[in-house]
Chain length 188, copies 2
């Protein structure tokens, strides 16, 4: 017997982020999140595996997007172009989630455990991009280097995107970071 709850997932997400911000991630329980959202714990667990999943539940979809775009890039595209297409797609996916991303970033920055989890997420993304490139016939170490560059641009672009009062889009900031990366390596 599932009662239909309008946007219960969004309400739980908002309640969770508000509580993580107010009392810290460690001191927030699922019971409190559900209470704040006016929903039951059972409803919470229909949407999220645990309280960390509110922050990291999107990682799988992001990785699938990266891999799909790299796989489906034009066969003649150089590895970095395939990776940049994936970053553009990720930027488009995330663009209207900036408020969520800002709140999430502040919460993650405040917790060693969550910062470590975020690093592991990014390293997993980098490895997935490298694997998708190898499936296109890209050799090592080019595949791994391209995966690392892509995730560096994602990370540096993302950190700028969530910093107040930044107004440029995530896509713009990742592409600008790419130009800056080229300037960095060209000077060596």
């Amino acid at each position: 017997m599932t009662r239909w709850e309008p946007d219960s997932r969004g309400r739980l997400e908002q309640a969770a982020l508000a509580l993580y911000g107010e009392r810290g991630f460690d001191d927030t329980t699922v019971a409190k999140i559900a209470e704040r959202a006016g929903l039951t714990e059972r409803t919470f667990f229909r949407h999220f595996a645990d309280k960390r999943d509110v922050l990291f539940g999107g990682a799988g979809a992001l990785q699938d997007l990266f891999v799909d775009v790299v796989r489906n890039a034009p066969p003649t595209a150089p590895p970095i172009d395939a990776a940049m297409l994936a970053l553009d797609a990720a930027g488009a996916l995330l663009q209207d989630r900036r408020d969520f991303a800002r709140q999430r970033h502040a919460i993650i920055s405040a917790s060693t455990e969550l910062r470590e989890r975020e690093l592991i997420k990014l390293a997993t993304l980098s490895a997935a991009v490298a694997r998708a490139l190898r499936d296109r016939g890209v050799r090592e170490p080019t595949a791994s280097l391209t995966g690392e560059v892509a995730i560096t641009l994602f990370k540096v672009g993302f950190d700028r995107w969530v910093a107040e009062p930044e107004q440029r889009t995530l896509i713009q900031l990742m592409r600008q970071s790419f130009d800056e990366l080229k300037a960095v390596t060209a000077s060596g």
Copy 2:
């Protein structure tokens, strides 16, 4: 009352790596390591904080080296040159530890917990390089991008260095990875 044990640190390290390789990291105790080395647990704890420290105890010295070299690079050196000097210094420090590095790499690859710890070590190194560059007056995002590039080259070069039957030096492999990274970014 400390009895002098000739190279007890080296013997403990060898015993630990042999046991981690044979029975896995999780199933090896400090007692077993000390026994294999013919030393006491007390001697183990004079050299290492815990059994993970045998694998990660060098991280602090490596970070200090990176930071010192970046700080002391010629004032006119571009950020990437300062970072490459740090990689050369790290390569020189590690070069005669290749057998240890190969054993260590196999052990870390076999454990999710240790792989995550290694990622965190590398991210900490990247942040330390970026901080040392900012102390030289390098602005963001150049400092962070340079730190990420340096650690990417360290990681990719290191992974090739420990792969059998690679014979080139770590310095050669990091510099070659840099040339390949430039080729990757130039094609975009």
